[in-house]
Amino acid sequence: MTSQEFASNVLPRRSLKRVPSSPRTLFSAVMTVVAFACAAIALIPLISVLYYVIINGAGRLGPDLFTQLPPPPLVKGGGFGNAILGTLLTVGMAAAISIPFGVLAAIFLSEFARDTVVADWIDFFTNVLSGVPSIVVGVFAYALVVVTTGTFSAFAGGVALAVLMLPTIVRTAAESLESVPNETRQAAIGLGATRFQTTIQVVLPAAIPAIVTGVMLAISRAAGETAPLIFTALFSQYWAKGVWEPIASLSVLVFNFATVPYKNQQQLAWAGALVLVGMVLITSILSRWATQRKR
């Protein structure tokens, strides 16, 4: 028996033509439809949130929102300029605290202590921290800052948000540093760079786009947090005078106004939600734009 006979006996030569009714083709078609349907269903919450927020909030959009203070009950008009400013201020302080700590911790984990026991433990505790409920973080910041300083304050809110942002920043920054190829590090070391010079001048710049994405993600998460702010920044009807007193924020404003029986306040809550979503969206788009431009 020649080898040709052998092959044609065991495995008859098959037609190369497509057979639409074969079980394999049908299975593939059905699964494609199922996968598409699941993807569509997963998008429903996002689309409906956006839909409701826009339908209910867009009517109140206008310059007043950004320049006026929240009105007392039964008074028409008003806005929440102080809450927008307050959100920017608390998130800004949180970023100013958590970015340096987070990025430096990531540099330590990825560049100086990789594969050591210390790094494993820090990594583990970072994961634990990211699982701590935000309300617990709020209580922590209350005990740490509000109780010791004797006042609710924007700074206390910033500390609470910083604790929430820290694990996200550490993890994304460490991952982006670790994804810089070792050949690049060796090239710098081979040229006589110290470890510090290698990290600062070569590894960190190469990882910056990915780090920026992680930071933006953390910032937009923190901007929407309500629970940790209730205990710390509290709320204020007035423009902020400094970081050492209670301050308004968009998320707490939405929380307060959505639950009161006054029509005007409810509308402001919807508009606040819309502005908050818009701010998060702009942050995400900015981070994408920044990352793509770097490449």
């Binding site: 050949e183 060796q186 710098a188 081979g190 040229l191 006589g192 760079a193 010079q197 190469a206």
Partner: protein
């Protein structure tokens, strides 16, 4: 094994190893290497995979220090300084002993900044534009990139990237350039360009090159060390130098049968 190094003795010796044993933890990776690397020559390390050529090469600029379990016994002298003495700063060693790696590894920075990186580390005060141009010309890359110095070093072809890495290495005016299979990721034309380049570079630098390409070793080098590997009864594979001599001796009239078989392609 008594290499005939008459010619090598006539020139100055840059590196001298004495009974060098290289370990990773308890594992003996390379044993009993005693060779002299002559100045302004190209020395090639050849041999089968896993025989420790790259390991020995990376001892010369202390790059193996990055591996925690690495240690040596025996001696490596660099211009009569004990390279592994505790007084030696490995960072300073690497500034005088440059390296070109197997895979082109330009920094994700502009071509200009790739070249300027090393000189800036050393606090170079002169005209950086002149230095960048001179380095790129030495690496035979200037004409191809002179109009795109601001573009990323990773955006050019593989052969150009490797010449960029050579330019980056020569920019700090090292004493020695180590090359770890610099052409293994390149096409034949780029390979020839780099081999031509080696002949020009050896006027100014001492070059040690690890290569799997026998023709490359015979064409480009002045001295050749043939490494081989032997397994002990536990299956641990230890590399050693079979023969080290002038390249034409290694390729035409080697003293060892193993060398003859390897260079003629009848190895196994």
């Amino acid at each position: 094994m008594t290499p005939n190094l008459q010619t090598a003795r006539q020139t100055e010796t840059v590196f001298r190893t004495e009974n060098l044993n290289i370990y990773y933890g308890n594992f003996l990776a390379v044993k009993d290497v005693s060779i002299k690397i002559p100045k302004h020559c190209i020395t090639a390390f050849i041999g089968p995979s896993g025989c420790g050529k790259s390991t020995v090469l990376r001892c010369f600029n202390r790059l193996n220090d990055l591996i925690k379990s690495f240690h040596i016994d025996g001696k490596i002298y660099y211009h009569d300084q004990d390279l592994y003495s505790s007084e030696i700063d490995p960072v300073e060693v690497r500034r005088q002993v440059g390296m070109v790696f197997q895979k082109p590894n330009p920094f994700p920075k502009s071509i200009y900044d790739n070249i300027a990186f090393g000189p800036r580390l050393l606090g170079y005060k002169g005209d950086m534009d002149v230095l960048v141009e001179r380095s790129l010309k030495q690496a035979a890359l200037w004409d191809e990139v002179k109009d795109k110095l601001k573009e990323s070093g990773t955006a050019i072809s593989g052969g150009q990237q490797q010449r960029l890495c050579i330019a980056r290495a020569v920019a700090v005016q090292p004493d020695v350039i180590l090359m770890d299979e610099p052409c293994s990721a390149l096409d034949p034309i780029s390979t020839l360009k780099i081999e031509d380049l080696l002949q020009e570079l050896k006027e100014q630098y001492t070059i040690i090159i690890v290569t799997h390409n026998m023709q490359q070793a015979s064409r480009a080098s002045d001295f050749t060390a043939f490494f081989n590997v032997q397994a002990n009864d536990k299956g641990q594979r230890t590399g050693y130098v079979v023969e080290y001599d002038r390249t034409e001796v290694i390729f035409q009239n080697p003293m060892q049968e193993a060398t003859r078989e390897y260079v003629s392609g009848r190895f196994g």
